[in-house]
Amino acid sequence: MHAETEVAPLVEMRGITIQFPGVLALDHVDFCLRAGEVHSIMGENGAGKSTLIKALTGVYSIDSGTILVGGEERVFGSTADAQAAGISTVYQEVNLCTNLSVGENVMLGHEPRNLRGIDWRATHREAARYLADLGVHLDTHTLLSSHSIAIQQLVAISRAMVLDSRVLILDEPTSSLDRDEVDQLFAVVRDLRAKGVAIIFISHFLDQVYEISDRITVLRNGQLVGEYCAQDLPRADLVTKMIGKVLEELDDIATSAERTIDRSAAPLLRATGIGKRGVLSPADLDVYDGEVVGIAGLLGSGRTELVRLVYGADRADAGHFELHGEPAKLTSPRHAIDHRIAFSSENRREEGIIADLTVGENIALGIQARRGWLRKLRGAEYDAVVAEYIAALGVRPADPNRLAGTLSGGNQQKVLLARWLATAPELIILDEPTRGIDVGAKADIQRKVAELSHQGLSVIFISSELEEVLRLAQRVVVMRDRHQIGVLDSSDVDVDGLIDYMANQGDAQSEGSVA
């Protein structure tokens, strides 16, 4: 390990305080980053992780405290100042120009020039070299938008490499990557660490934090809890420090998976052979009343594609649907909503939250869309619905007039869930509802799902975290490479078994369904 204490700190933040209207976001927080270490910042949503990072990168100005980089005191008025000081950030949700080519994105602002201006051949050659360092080999002339989010994330990281930074901040870099891609990224991170780059790593995946970190700083409610060596901090202690209480709640939820479902009546939803050319091979899906059906599969396995066809977000070109035993047409979100099916997308920012509307307006939007524009939900009725669901899901801050875009990821997810629950659906499709949110919010959302299914709501639950899927779902549909490879009873299988199944089983079936 490289985190010997005698190494002089590269970045030192002392007594950082940031006050937002009504909230003390950071309260005299100290943070110390040494060259050649990977340092994780851990905390629940709202703990102050993002605020601390934004103070360091010049997005926010600080109310008090000092920032020293390489022993010199710095005041960052903008992100450009921070970049000039050698601090680069790769954000959670890819922030690149999707309408430019991969090469242009990687080299933006640093294109090699010749007498005629930008030397495009050299630009793309350079870009390809930086990408090759990450083990990515692709045509740099292709549009960024034509690549998966995973590749876009790697492009974002290689862009930070172009800036030749001394400090690299990775804010949830792995939330969209599959296991191989994470390994690839971590290889690069270790390589950079060996070269003396200081890396701040933020992730909600505890495994990854322990795999890559030398040191961990824990924040809670805007205050510093402490700084620890990763190998001296047992996992349970870390979680306790983050949430301030021992987390046993998740165990209570375990009962949900063992519940028996009455499958004698016609299923609420039966999809037979639904597929779309080039998107998903025909798949079958049954969901009974009060059942939680999990969908397991890697990113890009077809799990999201399957539920988008069910919801009508994309139109299926094969197969048919039955609802309560009756044939039904599900070709647009409106149809699905009329049949009391709700869908919460994995892509919260693009397809979920209306960032510039308030929390209340976001929650009421689902009901309002159902009622039509003429019958506005207003006054006491609006207040009651909004207050009820803010309380039921524990949205924080519990202020209906705050813009939804200013909430943390976990709270935005709760707002989305609230929007759909307020419409009283019979079936709710949750695509990665717990992605990129903290342990506490995760537990809240899982508990809510279990509770609702007990009350008879049917749920389709997609998550990359297989523990979650197995804990909540009675049956698990397994997807791979855009094929359905099987349906398992969750009581028959554990996480390792499920991983093995995803990796090795069902080759025969998938061959069959191609034809």
Binding site: I18, I354, L365, L377
Partner: protein
């Protein structure tokens, strides 16, 4: 005071008042309103009357812009509606009868509604980019108007028609009541029903709105229909004022002035949040400026440059960045975190 300054209409209203004050200082009779034959007269009354066509067009434009769109065809729609209305009156045996004029006006408005529907169809159903979709009608519309008038400027002398632009009701210009009614109707429909918030949702995030079950197609279509219809009424007021249907001059460049008014009022061209009151103020600023040019006797050769300079000043007065600099100069140089502008800065990191 600072709370007042944070109100989003503060700077538009400030700009408008500043223009009025400057005019009054230059020539004190600017502010004077006189009563003659039971009717009010004065420069301010003229502004309230003359702004009617631009006001109607800008109100429609506000709704279209809120859906992330733009309507370039409004000037051409004005020409068509004026041509339809005046051609009907001209061809009728009794051009002076109120019923003839009413039928002609309804026909003009009806045609405009259909043109708005066409724009909306191209944008909402065929998914054509708004700037291209409405450019079609912007270019073709005046041709259609010329076809209707046989290439001539149709002049009409009809008392009921003249009343629309130049008549008085309750001692005030009739045209003022038209735009007040339109603005009030739109504000009431948008805010008392859910149309406003659904329009904003569609404008802010179309895909999320679609998945939330919002009928965005209908909302977008409706915005273009409203814009076309309002432009049609504007065209009739314009023609009534000059007592002629001039296919080339009617609503010339009005789409750009309307966009300017919407932006001056504080609605973002990015779509989403919109303000009807802001647009009303924006139009009044432009119209006051127009009067200023006449009032101060700026020569016609200089007036475009004069106009442009004042617009730049008004835009600067409203710019958040300029406010920041202003605060820096006056000593309070620490900026607040968490504003929109600063969050966007992440993108470059």
């Amino acid at each position: 005071m600072t709370r007042l300054m944070k109100h989003r209409l503060f700077w538009p209203v400030f700009s408008l008042l500043a223009l009025i004050v400057i005019n009054t200082i230059a020539r004190p009779q600017f502010i004077k309103i006189t009563m003659r034959d039971g009717e009010f007269y004065g420069a301010l009354i003229d502004i309230l009357r003359n702004c009617a066509p631009l006001m109607l067009v800008a109100l429609g434009m506000t709704l279209v812009i809120a859906t992330r769109g733009i309507d370039l065809s409004v000037g051409a729609v004005m020409a068509v509606s004026g041509a339809v209305t005046l051609t009907i009156i001209d061809g009728s045996s009794s051009p002076g009868s109120t019923s003839t004029v009413l039928v002609a006006i309804l026909a003009g408005i009806g045609v405009s509604l259909v043109l708005g529907l066409w724009n909306g169809f191209l944008v909402a159903v065929l998914d054509i980019q708004p700037i291209i979709a409405t450019l079609v009608l912007m270019l073709a519309g005046r041709g259609v108007a010329l076809l209707i008038t046989d290439g001539f400027i149709t002049t009409v002398n009809s008392e009921p028609l003249n009343f629309v632009a130049t008549g008085y009701l309750f001692a005030l210009p009739f045209a003022l009541f038209i735009w007040l009614a339109a603005a009030a109707a739109i504000a009431i429909v948008e805010r008392r029903t859910a149309l406003g918030v659904l329009t904003e949702a569609v404008g802010i995030n179309p895909e999320a709105s679609r998945l939330a079950g919002v009928r965005s197609r209908g909302i977008i279509l409706g915005a273009y229909v409203a814009s076309g219809t309002l432009a049609g009424i504007a065209g009739i007021i314009y023609s009534s004022n000059i007592r002629a249907a001039d296919a080339n001059a009617a609503g010339d460049l009005i789409e750009l002035y309307a966009i300017l008014a919407v932006v001056l009022g504080g609605t973002s061209l990015m779509g989403g949040k919109f303000t009807i009151a802001g647009t009303v103020i924006g139009v009044l600023i432009i119209q006051t400026l127009d009067s200023t040019i006449l009032f101060l006797g700026v020569s016609s050769a200089q007036s475009p440059v004069f106009f442009a300079i004042v617009v730049v000043i008004v835009v600067l007065i409203q710019s958040p960045r300029v406010h920041q600099w202003g605060r820096a100069l006056t000593g309070g140089f620490r900026t607040r975190p968490g504003t929109e502008v600063r969050n966007d800065a992440e993108v470059t990191a």
